[in-house]
Symmetry: C2
Subunit: 238 residues, 2 copies
């Protein structure tokens, strides 16, 4: 939870039209004129591994569009217990909140690049753009649906099902960005996975090991290879 020396790039940023995550992001709903307008509002910012982009209870000052890297989004209980409510990937939009304060923290897993918008300016920008508001709705509703899926996982699934579901879900999300692959990179730590699945780090580790013994997966440094994707999918569906 280091505080970032905010590294703003020199003003010659890549134009929005060429943005690598545009079609995955909010901005997919914008036309060329709007993109050019938006260009003046966004600033690219870098964060190093484990830096906190914003923290629970902090005032919300910005919206964020993740360009590169992975982030963990989490809530802390007063006694330190942590629940990761999601991982953010390029294209994900952060900072929507009902209140004036962030309801969760977000920090970088590995180096991260973010397109940051001043809250007020962005609010003014979208204010009367119905097509953009509909797009934001779509994203919010999709996230809500994912959250509900995750509730089922947390409330009703066994450790093995949790781990399998996580692997499949993560593989599919990465697949949507970079195409399908049998080897699933896991940039986050075992502790992160545990806090995402409502387990302890030991249970996550044991479950991986069990799946490996069963010849279902192969544990590699920084990734997992799905030897028998169908088996993993079956566990995840069950």
């Amino acid at each position: 939870m280091k505080i970032s020396l905010v590294a703003v790039e020199p003003n010659e940023q890549q134009p929005c039209v060429d943005c690598s995550v545009r079609q995955f992001s909010l901005c997919a709903a914008l036309d060329r004129a709007e993109l050019r307008e938006l260009e003046h509002l966004g600033r690219h910012v870098h964060f190093a591994t484990c830096e906190t982009v914003f923290a629970q209870e902090e005032m919300t000052t910005s919206f964020y569009n993740l360009l590169e890297g992975v982030m963990r989004l989490y809530k802390l209980l007063p006694d330190g217990r942590r629940q990761i409510v999601g991982f953010a990937l390029p294209g994900d939009f952060l900072g929507m909140t009902a209140s004036a304060r962030h309801s969760f923290s977000a920090d970088a897993i590995g180096p991260v690049t973010i397109c940051r918008f001043s809250r007020a300016a962005f609010a003014r920008f979208i204010e009367d753009k119905a097509h953009l508001l509909r797009r934001i709705n779509e994203l919010a509703v999709r996230e809500l649906s994912q959250a509900q899926d995750h509730m089922v996982l947390l409330g009703r699934r066994s450790a093995e099902e949790k781990v399998a579901t996580f692997l499949i879900g993560w593989r599919d999300r990465l697949g949507r960005l970079s195409g399908p692959a049998k080897t699933v990179p896991l940039p986050m730590s075992r502790q992160d996975i545990a806090d995402y699945l409502g387990l302890t780090i030991e249970t996550v580790s044991r479950t991986f090991t069990k799946l490996e013994r069963d010849r279902v997966i192969d544990i590699l440094p920084g990734s997992i290879s799905l030897l028998d994707p169908a088996r993993v999918e079956a566990l995840a569906a069950a």
Copy 2:
């Protein structure tokens, strides 16, 4: 899960302006002219106890504004395990979904009155109304935030904390509608509570009993009285 004989009211419905849940609902964002327009789109519908309003995987045909009663919203796993993702109260808006099918089921806990809108007509109605879209956003984001809170509960809290958090949360929601009270009506069954908290019915029952033995609550038929609200709140905050 009976199928409802849809009981449409005679066409003289109460006008939207006089709607009892208007200020809590989506419609709070509408002016008088828009309300009159909306009046033609909504139909009041009644459902009896345990009737299903819509089911997971069903095509979405309508939006729903809950007027009276309580509903349970839940997802089922193939083997029948159930996770209740939320309870709906008057003013709650249902039917927003990213896909063309419902991602969860909704049925009535006790008699329910709903204001139903045809999906297409409602979509047309909101299409260009930025203020209404912003209001929908606000509702969606608030729900997402609640969902994240619930993830923390499901993933990281003990049975006792879960039950206490549920009691406080439910009390506060009811309080917002009908003013504060020390006795919290629980229209849902123990099984519903269990499926909401990711517990079994027995654990819920035992936890209630324990809290009663500790003189923290009083178990009444159909409700719980908070003898020591501060203790319950402390458990919920922990």
